[in-house]
Each structure stands twice: as C-alpha cells, then as structure tokens.
C-alpha cells in the first residue's frame, strides 16, 4: 500500500512541474503591467521603469522563473494586488469555503442521482429510465451561473425562503471557532445548533446549483454500472435462488457497481472545484474560485498561480485517495497492485 502510494506520488511530479512552468509562462503572457499598477496613476514612464526594476520584472524570463521557484520552495506564493494580502493566507482562509460548498453539492447530487440511476437501471427502457435521462441531462445543459441566478430569483427574491446571497454567513453571526474551517463541522463541534442552522442556510442554494450540474454524470454512470452488473452471472444466480429483489439490488448488485461510481465521483469532485468559480461569483461565496477569477480579470497573477498550484496538488491527493478507496472497496485491486 505504501509503495503504491509512493509510486503514485512520484508519477505525479512531472505533471506538477509542468503545471508550474505553464502557469508561470501563462501569467507572464497575460496583458497587464504590474509595475504600472504599483507606480500608480500619473506615473511617468521613468517611474514605472523604476518600479519594474524594484519588482525584478525587468530580468530575463529564466531568471524570473528561478526566483519564482525559490519563493515557492519557501512557501511564498507572492502577494495579491486586489486583496493586498499574501496569497498563501488568502488561499488558506478561502479553501475551506470552496471545499465545504463542493462537498455539500456532491452529497446532494449523490442523494438524488444514485437512487435515480439505480431505478433507471432496474426499470430499463421504461418511462422512469427516460425521465431519469432527461432530468439529468437537462440539469447539465444550462450554464451553471444561469441556474444559480434563477434559483436566487425564485427562492430568495420571489419566495423569501432562502437567505440573502451575502456569502457564507449572515452579518450578525460570528463564525464558529476555527477547527477545520468547515463552518458546519465547527459549529457542531462547538455544540451551537442555532449557529449550525445559520451556517447551513446560505449553503443550500449554491450547493443545489452545483448539485443540479453534477446530476448527469453520476446518474449516467450509476445506471451504466448497474446495468452491466445486473446482467452478470452472480446476480442471475441470486435471483434464481429466490432472494428478494431489494436485497439483490442493494446488497449484491450495487456494491459491485460502486467501483466505477466512485471513480466518477472523484472526477466530478475535481471538475466541480474548477467549475464553482462561477457559482461563487453569483452567490458572493468567499472561496478560492471567485478569488482566482477576480485576480485573473485584474491581471493580478500571483493569486492565479497560487490557485492553480493548489488545485494541482489537490488533484494528485484526490486521485491518490480514490485509488486507496478502490483498494478498500475491491480487495482484488489491492492484491493485483
């Protein structure tokens, strides 16, 4: 197991290096002159040149790259122009917000898509199968920001059921003492149920938006995996032996179908982390997605670099976790490895 983990990490290193190089080049190609920004309005070309020299931006690219990597090694991701803070502290404070939102969205999506997929597989070709396909596909066919805005309009503006899209928490509550950074968990740890409810309320609409968007791949994969498992020999045997259909489906078929579903979940999670930049913008969610987008628009490239690197590392860890989970679910995989 340890050797497998080690091997996995080593193969990830070239991609990480590639990411660092590509991000560096990409941000240097971005239009926008940091030196002009720092020199302020009404700066003469000479003043801008001075600031450029001070920031080291007049050095040849390879030298700048070396300096950048050296800073990275020291944990210095640079400073953001738009927030004025060190990028690493911005990311540390904003990552839990995005992660909490994405996880809740995934949980909601699973709760709907998995039963739907199983049902569609069990009653293949029926109305439910078609309905499942249409509903799932419809969810993924709308741009995610549009879905978000529609939900805000319907549930906040018209009906008043959802709280104001002001971010993670209403202005009159203080966040729970920081343990994990996940407000839901931290408020439960602090045994403050009222706070828990106050943290849950703003999460629902954005999580629902993400869930609608991720229904399709999960439902589709569940359906496909269940279909292939239901056609297999051991299920036929179970049925022939007279086991109740419910037991056949849940205990035997689904357990075996879980493997590809888990892979899909991992893929969907990493896709969502990248896709929630738009959802965060609509709901004023203080996550890393909105952080990166605002920085990119402002040609503030240190946060963009930090964001991309953080995500790359997270993907590697995520894939590793999924592989390990594989091993837990399916012993054959462990033995083969």
């Amino acid at each position: 197991m340890l050797r497998q983990t080690g091997k996995r990490l080593i193969t990830a290193i070239p991609s990480l290096i590639g990411v660092i190089v590509v991000t560096f080049l990409l941000t240097r190609v971005l239009p926008g002159d940091t030196a002009a920004y720092f020199a302020g309005p009404a700066a003469t070309p000479q003043a801008i040149a001075e600031v450029r020299a001070k920031l080291g931006l007049d050095q040849p690219l390879p030298k700048q790259f070396v300096r950048y990597v050296r800073d990275l090694a020291h944990g210095d991701f640079g400073t953001s122009l738009t927030t004025g803070q060190p990028v690493i502290s911005d990311i540390a404070s904003r990552l839990p917000a995005s992660a909490e939102l994405t996880l809740l969205g995934l949980v909601i999506a699973m709760a709907i898509a998995v039963p739907l997929g199983i049902l569609a597989a069990v009653r293949q070709g029926s109305l439910i199968d078609h309905a499942c396909r249409i509903v799932a596909t419809a969810g993924v066919s709308l741009p995610v920001f549009f879905t978000g805005l529609l939900l805000v309009y319907a549930f906040y503006f018209l009906l008043g059921w959802a709280p104001a899209p002001l971010g993670r928490l209403d202005v009159f509550y203080t966040p729970p003492p920081q343990v994990t950074g996940f407000y839901l968990i931290d408020s439960l740890l602090a045994r403050d149920l009222a706070l828990f409810r106050a943290c849950l309320a703003p999460l629902i609409l954005p999580a629902a938006t993400l869930a609608i968007f991720s229904l399709a791949p999960i439902a589709r994969m569940t359906r496909a995996a269940m279909l292939s498992v239901l056609a297999s020999d051991f299920v036929r045997t179970a049925r022939a032996n007279g086991l109740a259909p419910h037991r056949v489906i849940v205990t035997y078929a689904f357990r075996n179908a879980m493997l590809p579903v888990v892979t899909t979940l991992g893929m969907v999670f990493s896709f969502l982390l990248g896709a929630n930049v738009l959802v965060e913008k609509v709901f004023a969610w203080p996550g890393i997605g909105s952080y990166a987008v605002e920085a990119l628009i402002a040609s503030d490239y240190a946060p963009v670099q930090g964001f991309v690197l953080t995500m790359a590392v997270l993907y590697v860890l995520l894939n590793l976790a999924i592989d390990l989970l594989y091993g837990v679910i399916d012993p054959r995989v462990r033995i083969e490895a």
Binding site: L16, T137, L149, V277, L296, F307, M311
Partner: protein, 301 residues
Amino acid sequence: MSGAMRMEPGAVAAPAPPAKQTSLLSHARHVIGENPVTGLAFGLFVLLALCALLGPAIAPYDPLASDVAAKLQAPSLHHWFGTDEYGRDILSRVMVAARLDLGIAIFSVALVFALGGVSGVAAGFFGGWTDLIVGRIADTIMAFPLFVLAMGIVAALGNTVTNIVIATAIINFPLYARVARAEANVRRDAGFVQAARLSGNGELRIVLTQVLPNVMPIMVVQMSLTMGYAILNAAGLSFIGLGVRPPTPEWGIMVAEGAGNIISGEWWIALFPGAALMLAVFCFNLLGDGLRDIVDPQRRT
C-alpha cells in the same frame, strides 16, 4: 428465393441472394424506434442546423440594429422574443447566434479531434516516446482546473472566437487523447493492421488510413458531448467578460448580459437565449447518448 434451383448444363449458377446484414441505417432506425428520446434529439439537431444555415436570411430584423425608443419591450406581436436594452430584436439575435454557437462547437470539436485523436492514436499505436510525451502533456493539462485554464488562455491571447475555440480544444485534449490511445492500443496488433503491414504500408499510413477510421465511431460519441460542452464553456467565459466581443450575437453572452435583468423583471432577455442554449446542449447530450447506443457493438443484437 425458395425452391430447388434447376441447373441448366453450361449455365453458371445464379449468385446466392445477399445475406441479410444489419446496415447502419436500419440499425439506427431500430434504435430510434426503441428510444424516442434519441429521435427527438435528432430532430432538434436538424432544426438547429437549419437555423444556423438560414438564420441571417430569415431573421425578421437586423440583429445589430439598435432602436432605443423600443428598448426593453416584453414579447409582443412585433417582437416575438421582445427587445433588449438597445432595442435590438431578440428573436433575430437568437437565430443569428445559432450560426456562431454551432460554429464554435463544430470547430472546437474538429480541432480537438485532430489534435487529441491523432496524438492519442499515435501514442497508443507506436508506444514508447510518443506515448510518454503525449501522456505527460495530457497529465499536465488535466492537473489544471479546466475552466480556469480556459479563462487563462483567453485572457492571455485575447477574447476572439478563434481563441475561445483554441482554449476549448486544449482543455478537452486529454480526454480525446486518452480515449484514442486506449482504442488504438487494442487494435495495434489486430488482423487487419497486420495485413496492411504485410502489404507494405508505412506505419504512419496505417495509423491514418486503418486505425483512425476504426476509432472514429467511439470518438463520435465523445464529440457530440463535447459540442454541448463547448457552447457552455463559451457562455461561462462570457459571464466573466472573456467571451466574444459586442455587438456579436452569441447565446452565452446574451444570457450573461440578460442575467442582471432578471431581478428587474425583464425575464425575456436572458430566457430565450438561455432556452436556445439549453436546447442545443441538451440535444447534443442526448445525441451523444443515442449515438453510443448505435455505435457500441455490444448493443447490437
């Protein structure tokens, strides 16, 4: 044909009747019959294609002509889809935008197939260094949050339609490369490939003329899904301000601009392009599912 055949001396036997093969067309008809939703998707696709081809010719108004006196009008007999904040007719803009959006979808997919498909097939077929390089490139791209990478590419290169197409192609590259590679790997030592080798075809020629066409059907499914994704991608970029330039009509940018008007009650500005966009993506997704049913040999009975 039934009955015994009388063989006249010296006559050549009439050729045997052709074996009943399931042709692609009849198989397709069968699948559509089985699955009406796929049929619906095909119909929608035809409608969209017609709009794209004929759009500018049959649109009632000039999509770029502003008429400030008529701005922000709800749908009416004069303007079936209403007007936007410049007084432009939304129906005309939606119809003309079909061309641009389908264009973006088709070109993105063509580009990514050319790049990813060919690289993947080469990687799977030749193995060795080719495989290693293509694999590394794909892994590096996959390590990025894909939408942010697209944003970065468009921000760096400038927001033109060409760059949006390029960005979409780049972020879908790993998927195509991976699928193509897997398929090529399977067929590397297949019978027909050996035969082509024996008849003296160069390796590259084999890849392009033998393997690639065999890989196509599987890829077509993926291409249909990517077309929907390309349109959504362009819409997302427009929401951030990195989409096409005004005043070009494009569904995504129309939705993004109209989104702010929902709260003030002018729902038609975002709804109609949004519905068009959704129908197009929906159509491509269902089409992909349907094509998968047609193309997947395991499903053929």
